[in-house]
């Protein structure tokens, strides 16, 4: 019996230090890091253009930003208004320059002459 106690004690003392050792090695190291992202600039909301009550009798500018070979889209859009809303005067305008460039003259014309405008299309 004494021998058994001794063995149990031996196992206990042998095991406990191993457990303590294992527990020590799995202690989690935590660290801090720096955020790699730049912050976006502040945004100011622009007022949207007021809407018209109706398109009847109004001038609608349809502006082509000149993405690659999109004329058929505009031809169809203009045709749709001619067939379905003939009292809307559509003006199809191609923006000057490549699609990514500004055209201040056209925007001034829209403000002066259009009641409403569609700017299109993407891809």
């Amino acid at each position: 019996m004494k021998r058994h106690v001794f063995l149990l004690a031996a196992i206990f003392f042998a095991v406990v230090p191993l457990c303590l050792s294992a527990g020590g090695s799995t202690a989690v190291t935590k660290t801090t890091v720096l955020n790699p992202e730049a912050y976006p600039p502040p945004i100011t909301q622009l007022p949207m253009a007021p809407r018209v009550d109706t398109l009847k009798g109004k001038t609608l500018y349809i502006i082509d930003v000149r993405f690659v070979f999109c004329e058929p889209f505009f031809e169809e859009l203009v045709d749709w208004f001619a067939k379905n809303m003939p009292d809307v005067k559509t003006v199809w305008k191609q923006k000057a320059g490549a699609y990514g460039l500004d055209d201040p003259e056209l925007w001034a014309e829209v403000k002066a002459k259009a009641d409403a405008a569609i700017v299109a299309p993407g891809h």
Binding site: A38, A98, H123
Partner: protein, 426 residues
Amino acid sequence: MQPFEDLVKETAREEGMPYERFIYVPTPVSSQPRSVVKKYLEGNDPVTGKPVMQEIIDALTKPLTSEEAHSGPIPSVKEDPRIIGPDTEENLRQLFMNKGWTDGLPIILPTEERVAAMLKGTSHKPDEVVGKMSAGPHPARQYTVEKVAVNAVMAGCKPEYFPVVLALASSAFASTSTSTTSFARMAVVNGPIAKEIGMNSGIGALSPWGLNQANATSGRAWTLITLNLSGMKPGVSYWGSQGNNLNYNNIFFAENEAASPWEPYHVQKGAKKEESVISVFSGRSFTSTQAMTSNWKWEMIQTSKAFYPSPGSGLTLLVDPLIVREWMNDPDFNTKEKVSEWLYENTTLDAKHYKAVSFSYSFAKPQAEEGVEPYASWYKLPDDALIKFLGSPDNVNIIVVGGGTQAFGYALDFSYVGKASIDKWR
């Protein structure tokens, strides 16, 4: 296909129009016949499921809501703080991956200690503004030396590479564009710093093999800078349809000035030989060319003709020192200017096909209509007339790189877009 809803909404928000009324049609619209786009207009919006034309009419006639009529500052989206954690390395790595802050490859976590060490690679203060960058239609973001250092650490750069990385960041050139056409970029280092930091300009300079740490990690840092500092968001504002494998660490190397009989590239662009400068190029692709066999001239011209002709685009040759040695023995090719002139003169396309190229339609035609040369003259040419579409010998760049083991090189559809001083950031 892709209606680009996220791109449209996010770009509009960042431009101050968060409630702009958008109507979507199926894509592509480009190059589709009337019969196809007619169905688009008579069909439903792929995002809302509502009839397209009714949505257009409603968008033009329905009164503005109070939100739409509002103007003034928009509360900013909550951003992550400067310091993240504490957390385990495993969790932080996963966080960086989940946030989209990496290129998908393992990173070095930018601990405060590592970033502090990187900052010792420059004399500039951490809070100094380096510049602004935008990779697409979204507004450019501003960033500091510290932010660049964080990304340089993540890429695996050593502190001695940091002036090169800062120069790239200061150039304002992103390492790609958000374009659906999947751009790539190239950066070439000239001057003493290349040798000082161990950049490879010889054997395997463009490869991942061997001791290419300076080339590999500095190039990768440019990609991470673009990802994290320009505001580009994959899946929102990046839509390169196929992507470009060059984007992983870009084409990034030093010119082999020691093996070149010609003036270094940066000297051609106005810098002094003893200055350290980074030159930036933009394009999409590259292919092999050679100057070894009797057929090389024909082969090289066919290669340059095969690139997509785009207004403003250039041709860049990365030539091995052996090619240069061959050329130096030929009185017609013994200067960069002669080679550039020859390539410009012979890289041609007939007017019919030039005008049919999509980029000609988008970029050359509008300029031709405004009388901008050479496009105005090109658009008046008969269909069978040949157009020297590189535009000028100045658009042909020649850079010497390689170890002299083969008279091969690369031809790239890359244009020179600008340069930045590295010395400024030491």
